[in-house]
């Protein structure tokens, strides 16, 4: 038994002491900055708080910047893609990604260039092989080469691209397809359709979901039953056949832009059900809250109860839902186009580019045709990371 007079300072476990020392060191500097920040936080609005919290989610911030880059590229596609998506080069069918050299064959630095090259069918394997002559010309890859005049975003007349070669030998960053078209240019142009299909689709399904879910939850009774059974019906039909049936109804003679909007509509008509259910659930539980009762007692109308008292209660959820729903729309469009019932040639989307990768023989010989899939994955993952960050930031009760 130890001495009873004790209060002799027993040391803390090392793990705990280390943490204390670390915290003390961390907080011993920057006190003024913290106090200043605290003052800002006290008077910050909900949105400012959310932004501050989101800013601390590093993964989400990086994802946000990358995604913004994606969208900038999509908007400036004409400028960034070195070639027109339809531009063919018969000498470069299934050309692999160009090797970009920086040093001349004799060893001196000359900046980026590509050799003159072409592809030819190998008579033994029937595979297109890259052929580079021994004394092939060097074609420098430069920034802002002159091209034929075009209209950037349909309005700004331009005659330079971001990068390219000045000679007839093209540079294929990601290789070429079965008609010798530059895959990178096609992916950049396709990102317009693929990245923006999400917004339109989410907008429609969002309105449908919130409205129908809200009515279902607030009104209840027969209306609720009807809407819920409709949702179950829509949900129970296998998604891909349903998409296919709806997409098959798109007239073949419609233009690219019409098809695009039709696809958006198809995706959103199938996609609203999940949101509607959640909104209904939230409203069901929240309309029993005392503050809703208080609003009713002060004779607020149903409309103002829904919009002023109920919906703000799950705004954070809605924001997160939107960021999570967009990648689903992107995937939906990719699936449809991959199956050949979405975006049709000559328009391109990531899904329609992947159609070429359907053939295993082609794919095993020319793996770079899978590049569009990498972009789909990247976009979806980035959206999910952002959604994750938003969920943490938007929840006022999270620590």
């Amino acid at each position: 038994m130890s001495d009873t007079t004790t209060s002799a300072p027993a040391p803390r476990p090392k793990k705990v002491q280390d943490r204390i020392d670390r915290l003390r060191a961390q907080y011993s500097t920057g006190g003024d900055r913290r106090r200043q920040r605290a003052e800002q936080l006290y008077s910050a609005s909900q949105w400012q708080l959310m932004r501050a919290k989101f800013g601390k989610h590093k993964l989400a911030m990086v994802s946000l910047y990358l995604l913004i880059l994606f969208y900038v590229v999509a908007i400036l596609a004409d400028f960034i893609a070195p070639y027109d998506p339809q531009e063919r080069s018969r000498q470069h069918i299934f050309a692999p990604p160009s090797a970009i050299h920086f040093f001349a064959p004799d060893g001196g630095f000359v900046g980026p260039y590509v050799f003159d090259s072409r592809t030819r069918v190998n008579p033994k394997t029937f595979k297109y092989d890259l052929i580079v002559a021994d004394n092939a010309d060097m074609n420098p890859v430069v920034l802002f080469p002159k091209t034929d005049p075009y209209l950037l975003m349909g309005v700004i007349p331009m005659s330079v691209k971001l990068f390219g070669t000045t000679s007839r030998q093209p540079v294929f960053l990601l290789g070429a397809d079965n008609l010798g078209r530059d895959l990178f240019s096609r992916i950049v142009h396709a990102s317009r359709v693929s990245l923006f299909v999400g917004f339109g689709g989410v907008l429609i399904s969002f309105v449908l979901g919130v409205a129908l879910g809200g009515i279902s939850g607030y009104v209840g009774g027969k209306v609720d039953v009807i809407i819920q059974r409709t949702i179950e019906l829509v949900m129970s039909v296998p998604q891909i056949p349903l998409w296919m049936a709806l997409a098959a109804a798109i007239p073949a003679e419609w233009t690219g832009i019409q098809t695009y909007f039709a696809i958006t509509l198809v995706l959103s008509l199938v996609g609203w059900t999940g949101l509607a259910r959640v909104v209904r659930g939230r409203i069901l539980s929240m309309r029993e809250e005392d503050y809703v009762m208080a609003a009713r007692i002060s004779s607020a109308s149903s409309w103002s109860i829904i919009t002023r008292h109920l919906i703000p209660g799950f705004t954070s959820y809605l924001i997160v839902h939107i960021t999570i729903a967009i990648p689903f729309m992107i995937l939906g469009e990719t699936t449809l186009s991959f199956l050949g019932i979405g975006i049709r040639a000559p328009d391109v989307s990531w899904g329609s580019l992947l159609q070429q990768a359907q053939d295993v023989v082609v794919l095993s010989n020319y793996v770079w045709l899978l590049w569009p899939a990498a972009f789909v994955v990247a976009a979806v993952v980035l959206f999910n990371f952002i959604g994750d960050g938003l969920r943490d930031a938007a929840d006022p009760y999270a620590k």
Partner: protein
């Protein structure tokens, strides 16, 4: 507060010194508990009182190292005499260690303020109370059940054989609080920290619960720390009181003295703000304002902003030390003594 070194019987069961529990937030350090000393003797009841946000509950949770997340006990000692008689400084144990877990529930347990949320809704109360025995003893299931039923009967739950298999939602608030007490006492702990045990209950049940705890204390010989803002609980149940304000003990003495002759301006104002039945007044006296933020508090008396007798240049220049003002009576005020609190490595942060 010099511990009597020679006599073992007067050695307190729990002795806390210099406890500091801070929360490390983005915008500064929240000094929730900033140097608290107290001790509890054998089978003694002491009260810790103070208004919301003064650090009472964090003090309680620090005793069992239950502070998590951004919170950290940065300094202090809490020496507890365990059942077998050995002394252990609770705060020197690793919060996750087997030894710390063997202290929780067995030697020291806690009664939480909200019986509604302190029980798991998906397990029977019998299971949850029996869990304590399952963790701390080697009794068989049948023996555990027997003990739980006996304990439920002891805390005044009728029909314990039936109630043991019920879920928390099937019990009334008072019943749940009783079950909570049963859970805290089932292992016969040396010391019970009752964190506002009656706040959620109506007065008649309050009285019953307090009587019950007193009876159990006489029977089991445990020490109780009542943490409350309810003066009536203090007046009736405890022998000594610690008054807390902004993370510090500002006054401590016997209950009798505290009510008769409070020394600290805060205690004086606090006692004057209690309504006395049968004595009509125009308006109850209030303490203007509210407890200031404990995030990076300036080095001055915590009560400076609300004190009627604050002395500019004195009270806002340093923190008064807890000094002896009378027999068994300590207070922390420059009106009573000029002694200042010593600074340490955390003061300047």
């Amino acid at each position: 507060m010099t511990p009597s070194a020679s006599l073992k019987s007067t050695e307190p069961r729990l002795k806390v010194e210099g406890l500091k529990t801070y929360f490390f937030l983005d915008h500064g350090i929240l000094k929730a508990v900033d140097g608290v000393d107290f001790h509890v003797g054998e089978a003694e009841s002491v009260g810790i009182i103070g208004e919301s946000g003064c650090g009472k509950s964090i003090t309680a949770q620090s005793m069992l190292q239950l502070v998590r997340g951004r919170g950290q006990i940065v300094a202090g000692h809490a020496v507890l005499r365990r059942k077998q008689g050995e002394m252990v400084d609770i705060l020197s144990l690793d919060p996750d260690s087997a030894e710390m877990r063997s202290v929780r529930g067995d030697d020291a347990s806690i009664i939480f303020q909200e019986p509604m949320t302190s029980f798991s809704p998906v397990h029977t109360i019998g299971f949850q109370i029996g869990e304590m025995l399952r963790l701390h003893t080697k009794l068989s299931e049948a023996q555990i059940r027997e003990r739980v039923i006996a304990m439920l009967g002891r805390v005044g739950i009728s029909n314990p054989e039936v109630r043991i298999d019920e879920y928390p939602h099937q019990l009334s608030g008072g019943m749940r609080q009783r079950a909570m007490i049963a859970m805290a006492l089932i292992c016969h702990p040396q010391i019970v920290i009752a964190d506002e045990p009656t706040t959620a209950l109506d007065v008649t049940i309050q009285a019953q619960i307090l009587d019950l705890m007193r009876d159990l204390q006489d029977e089991l010989g445990m020490s109780i720390v009542y943490i409350t803002h309810n003066m009536a609980v203090v007046a009736e149940n405890v022998s000594r009181v610690y008054v807390m304000y902004l993370g510090r003990v500002v006054e401590t003495t016997t209950t009798e003295r505290l009510f008769k002759d409070p020394k600290h301006p805060y205690t004086q104002k606090l006692l004057r703000s209690i309504p006395h039945p049968g004595r009509p007044v125009e308006r109850l006296e209030v303490i203007e304002g509210s407890v200031p933020s404990a995030v990076d508090p300036p080095r001055r008396c915590g009560f400076f902003t609300r004190c009627p007798s604050a002395m500019a240049g004195v009270c806002d220049a340093a923190i008064p030390a807890l000094t002896k003002v009378d027999d068994e009576h300590w207070a922390r005020c420059f009106l009573l003594s000029d002694e200042k609190e010593a600074e340490d490595e955390w003061s300047s942060l």
